[in-house]
Amino acid sequence: MKICVLVKEVPDAAVEKRIDPSTGRLDRSGEKNLNPFDTHAIEAAMQLKEGGALAVDEVVAVTMGPSTATRALQKAVSLGADRSVHLSDDALAGSDVNGTGYALAKVLEAEAPDLVLLGQQSDDGECYTIGAVVADHLAMPSLTQVIKIDVEDGALRCERQAEYGYDTVMVELPAVISVGDAINEPRYPSLKAIMGAKKKPLDAKSAADVGIDPSRVGYDNARAHCTDFAAPPAKEPGQIIEDEDTNETVEKIVAWLDERKLLA
């Protein structure tokens, strides 16, 4: 049995994000890191493999992105993936959710996984919709925001929070599951695993390699086209207190609350 984990390289949370005014796209330069939500997906894959209720032979990390994205794959491998696949092609740059999900589905088709796991959202574009797009292309059942997975009779018993409380859903394999960050505490990679990550197999694939129709991907073919970036109505910036002397800080908070008659 094979588990594919979709991972993504995102700007480090500490780096300020901006739109490149010349292209209208997110400026993805600056420090990059593995999407923190994806580490939970890898951990979930590792726990399924180590748990033994499913006979998992292989965990494969899959990403789509520029050449630098190999760093995210190496991080994924250091966290336990056996090998990785990197879909990279100039034709894919600037793809929207629809195009990205389609392209990822084509790579996954070639891998024929029994389970696809991904993080429920990414830190940059907040596109926690990719799982549903991929699942429709692969014709697999799908669930997002899953916080508990148990194996039961070869299927997955999943729990998640939806509009009206917690739902429990039985999902047959093969399936696409997006996990929430409450599902586990990702392990830290060992030094040995970090050193060994570069030696694990990494397949580089082009769009043509996996049979991607070029008319469905890339910025020019985006079905949803982002333009005219505007600043939202300005909001008066709030007052900020750096806590140095806590007694003084608390005095200021109480005065602020009292002024607004919130302590009546």
């Binding site: 917690y166 079905r223 207190i241």
Partner: protein, 322 residues
């Protein structure tokens, strides 16, 4: 016809507030476009009365599909069938989890453009343009659709409910579900975890997030809330982690509140949380990370260790009040 199709989520005999807002928004946009707003309901034994009640929010026709409830993929099949029959140009969803899943799946099925977290939709040259805040709401981008169908997924509470007093016809639509759409089965739905608490009527809410570090961190928030005469609320992350009751959860899949005072302790202020509390009159945030997004929309921000500040604040509030 370039009609708009709106998904209406229901549970326990009532429609979701965000869905009713989406139907109202769809009706408003349809009238600007000179077309009609239709709604679609998928469920087990949906009554005529429930389905036709969407007319009161501006839908002229309601497609009723017999199918499983609470899961996205059967609805993707149903909406694709309705759009094939009705030639709709747009699919519209109110804020919430299922709308995201259905909208994204439908976009894949129809090779359609999709935009999520939409806060406003405008008509331009006879077409709909979706406005979406990005980068922690620091910019708003306009999204133009270049596909036959455009999928618009609203942000929580983005669309206002408007009762028109209109009526709708109910049309039963038989849908053959795809095999994969029936391979996820609901075992139990809407389980409430933790004690039932009422946070929607409180004038003061003290809310806790992951920054509390542990479940016991809520003890000091209970004390502060007690001193302020308010209640305690929580983020999804800590509710999922089992630290606090689901009924006290704010945001995307929780409650929407607008108290006089919202004091956020150890909450970073992700969009999914912000949408549930941004209408609060006064927002105070305590967080040790000066880069936390919550400081962008708080009225008073304290950068510091909540474990030091909260207990002292509780004492000071008690002293001031006595």
């Amino acid at each position: 016809m370039s009609a708009i199709l709106v998904y209406a989520l229901h549970y326990d005999g009532a429609f979701n507030k965000n869905s009713l807002g989406a139907v109202s928004e769809g009706a408003k946009l349809a009238s600007e476009l000179g077309t009609e707003c239709h709604a679609i309901v998928v469920g087990e034994g949906v009554s005529d009365e429930l389905a036709s009640s969407l007319g009161n929010y501006g839908a002229s026709k309601v497609y009723r599909v017999e199918g499983p409830e609470g899961l996205a993929q059967p609805v993707v099949d149903a909406m694709a069938a309705a759009i094939e029959a009705g030639g709709h140009s747009y699919a519209l969803f109110g804020g919430g989890l299922l709308g995201f899943e259905i909208g994204a799946g439908l976009a894949a099925r129809l090779d359609a453009g999709v935009c999520m977290e939409v806060t406003n939709v405008r008509v331009e040259d006879g077409k709909l343009v979706a406005e979406r805040p990005i980068l922690q709401d620091s910019q708003i981008s306009s999204v133009h659709y270049r596909s036959k169908v455009g999928v618009i997924i609203g942000r929580l509470n983005a669309f206002e409910i408007n009762e028109t007093g209109g009526t709708a016809t109910v049309e039963d639509l038989a849908v053959e579900f795809r095999p994969h759409s029936l391979k996820a089965k609901m075992v139990s739905r809407g389980e409430q975890r933790g004690a039932d608490v009422n946070i929607e009527d409180a004038d003061v809410l003290v809310a806790g997030g992951r920054g509390l570090g542990k479940k016991e961190g809520f003890d000091m928030l209970e004390e502060l809330a007690g001193a302020l005469g308010g209640a305690v609320a929580a983020t999804r992350a800590v509710v999922d982690a089992g630290w606090y009751s689901y009924s006290a959860q704010i945001g995307q899949t929780g409650k929407t509140v607008a108290p006089k005072l919202y004091l956020a302790a150890g909450i970073s202020g992700a969009i999914q949380h912000k949408v549930g509390m941004q209408a609060s009159e006064n927002i105070v945030a305590i967080n040790k990370d000066s880069n936390a997004p919550i400081f962008e929309f708080s009225d008073l921000g304290i950068v510091g260790d909540l474990n030091k500040i909260v207990p002292k604040l509780t004492e000071a509030v008690k002293a001031k009040k006595s």
